[in-house]
Symmetry: C2
Subunit: 129 residues, 2 copies
């Protein structure tokens, strides 16, 4: 699969990945992939990341049920960042964040302080049982 | 400015940054900031990144004129990724990419190969003179 060779993997063999909701354009989360994760993502049509903390593949939703159907895989001009266009499944509206929010980017800088501006859609304790 | 201390800078003192167009939701580019870059961005209301290759602050548009007006600065749940909501200035439609395209994410994986699917809006030779 030589398309994987076109990606400029970093010194750890990883590439940063942005997941964007296809319908709304919302940026849902940011994660990392290694070569195997990107290959699996393309093969499955579902997002498979590489967890740096757990040092293993992480099929998004494997615990939460909040999987991501992948519609498009894009690469940037330096071939070192991936953008996924996804549908966030498992809850309506979609929950991408482990805090139970739609997007991981829920803190906004307002007047010199960070404020959580998006609601928790589901209690994380009931997501991760 | 203790809001800067809330950001979890990496071992190089950097944080990854996603720039998203406020009006369209398009993800325009991905770059990095150090503490000074993020402080300057908040102060100016224009995107100032840290260029890892040039090892200096990079006020986006300083050469191209394609500056980014910043409407919102967001932080993710791990406090280690920044999302900017911007208006891409200096050309209509906005050009964020050094290739003269709207977005840096112009390559799409189609049938096992990367294909450039977005048009060049302006010849880079006439952008960078």
């Amino acid at each position: 699969m030589d398309w994987l060779d076109h990606v400029r993997w970093d010194a750890q063999g990883l590439v940063p990945v942005i997941a964007q909701e296809a319908g709304t354009g919302d940026v849902l989360m940011f994660a990392w992939m290694n070569r195997e994760a990107l290959a699996r993502t393309a093969e499955l049509g579902e997002a498979v990341y590489y967890s740096r903390s757990r040092q293993r593949l992480w099929h998004k939703g494997e615990e939460s049920g909040h999987t991501q159907k992948v519609h498009e895989i894009r690469l940037d001009c330096d071939q070192d960042v991936v953008l996924l266009k996804v549908t966030q499944l498992g809850h309506e509206p979609g929950i991408a964040c482990h805090t139970g929010r739609h997007s991981c980017f829920f803190e906004r800088l307002d007047g010199g302080r960070w404020t959580a501006v998006d609601p928790v859609l589901k209690d994380p304790a009931s997501i991760y049982q």
